[in-house]
């Protein structure tokens, strides 16, 4: 019997959180090996476990996968969260990339020098309100279905709902004018596997703090 997927990262959201969400939403149990020091990362590198010397790395089906998108696409394919054909997949990819672009801005905000932080935050708020959320609201409005693509849950819905939680953490008022997105968030959050993941004690990671940033700097040497 195949072992559980094993996630290698440090104890924070970072670039691994989307993978945790996807596995959790797919109802897949997974293990985590949390890096605590730069020595832990060096060990993985010396073992030859990291193709490009970077984490995230996920051990799954006898492979050691790296590159967040490659990992997410593999999991989505495996657990039927990637649409029914090429064209649905293209839409799912397009929506996922939009989520990733905004997600990246939010992810990197803590690394912003203090004098630039306010400007960055304003830009994030502007992009959220004028570019990204309207686009997704429009997609849902255009077909009136419960999910973004093909009337079926896909990775696009999971990534988007994860993002909506982060947007809400940043500024709850940003979601105010997007009723269909709020509906999607509620609907996906109520799926049993997601509901479980949202409860305290799950493998979901909390927002980053000064401490997690310090740990990241130490481990990844930046």
């Amino acid at each position: 019997m195949a072992g559980k997927p094993k996630l290698h990262y440090f104890d924070a959201r970072g670039r691994m959180e989307a993978i945790r969400w996807l596995l959790a939403a797919a109802g897949v149990e997974f293990e985590e090996k949390l890096l605590e020091s730069s020595e832990d990362l060096d060990k993985l590198r010396h073992d030859g476990s990291l193709v490009f010397q970077q984490v995230p790395m996920v051990e799954i089906d006898g492979m050691k996968l790296v590159q967040t998108r490659a990992i997410l696409n593999y999991i989505a394919s495996k657990y039927d969260l990637y649409g029914k054909d090429m064209k649905e997949r293209a839409l799912i990819d397009m929506y996922t990339e939009g989520v990733a672009d905004l997600g990246e801005m939010i992810l990197l905000l803590p690394l912003c020098p203090p004098d630039q932080k306010n400007a960055k935050l304003t830009l994030i708020q502007e992009r959220t309100t004028n570019r990204y959320l309207p686009a997704f609201e429009k997609v849902l409005k255009s077909h009136g279905q419960d999910y973004l693509v093909g009337n079926k849950l896909s990775k696009a819905d999971i990534h988007l709902v994860e993002l909506l939680y982060y947007v809400e953490e940043l500024d709850p008022s940003l979601l105010a004018n997007f009723p269909l997105l709020k509906g999607l968030k509620t609907r996906v959050s109520n799926l049993p596997a997601v509901k479980k993941f949202l409860q305290p004690g799950s493998q979901r990671k909390p927002p980053g703090t000064e401490k997690t940033l310090e740990q990241a700097r130490k481990i990844f040497k930046f």
Binding site: V51, F52, Y74, K78, K87, A90, E97, G98, R131
Partner: protein, 233 residues
């Protein structure tokens, strides 16, 4: 008869070039509309053709696709450059998807490297020099050694599954791009040199590398000016 794919972008490499490479390598003819004015761009936005208000945009198979990776992945699958057909593997999910995922991993890495070059064009001169030097260093120390090893370990002609794929096309594109910055970059990588020669000689790629093809030139001041003007940044 299916219409040709139509590409909307600036008259330069940027984020569209990998898409041009993929189509060209697949032997697919495509049309291009070049953005030169702010008005053209605003029209595209107003017409609702840009999901997130951004280019690249590719019209293909009745879809208006944006987001570089979404486009690349669709094209790679459509033109059989995304790994083994499930039928080839007897519908073994693991066998066919393992190729798919390896191609994705390698393509992601070379795309990361090339994006550094894309972004460098828009930096002020001193920062730009530094960025490009950093790209060459990263190519030599982090990226190319990995691909040299992959080729060494399996001894095959192509990166994944002994079959020409999207990963090979992007690696060639990345090699040529870094060579433009430092012609000696492959000096420690004999297998990559052979790979380059071999892939350069694939008929569709050979054609694309000839003058007069739709391959675009490295970014110059004029290109940067047009992009800044159209996107207003």
């Amino acid at each position: 008869m299916a219409a040709k794919p139509k590409l909307w972008y600036f008259r330069g490499r940027g984020r569209m070039e990998s898409i041009r490479w993929l189509l060209a390598a697949a032997g697919v003819e495509f049309e291009e509309e070049f953005l030169e004015t702010r008005e053209q761009y605003e029209k595209l936005q107003k017409d609702g053709r840009l999901l997130f208000g951004q280019v690249p945009l590719v019209e293909i198979d009745g879809m208006e696709l944006t987001q570089t990776r979404a486009i690349l992945s669709y094209l790679a699958t459509k033109y059989n450059l995304h790994g083994k057909d499930p039928k080839e593997t007897g519908f073994s999910w693991i066998e066919s998807s393992c190729c798919f995922v390896r191609i994705d991993m390698y393509a992601e890495d070379t795309l990361d490297l090339m994006m550094m070059v894309v972004v460098a064009a828009f930096k002020p001169p001193e920062e730009k020099e530094e960025s490009l030097a950093s790209v060459v260093k990263k190519a030599k120390t982090q990226h190319f050694p990995v691909f040299e090893k992959i080729l060494k370990d399996h001894g095959e002609d192509f990166l994944v599954g002994n079959k020409f794929s999207w990963a090979d096309i992007q690696l060639l594109e990345a090699i040529l791009m870094v060579e433009e910055l430092d012609a000696s970059v492959l000096s420690d990588f004999p297998l990559l040199k052979e790979f380059k020669t071999r892939t350069n000689n694939i008929p569709t790629i050979k054609k694309f590398l000839q003058p007069g093809s739709q391959r675009k030139l490295p970014p110059d001041n004029h290109y940067v000016k047009v992009v800044r003007n159209v996107l207003q940044f």
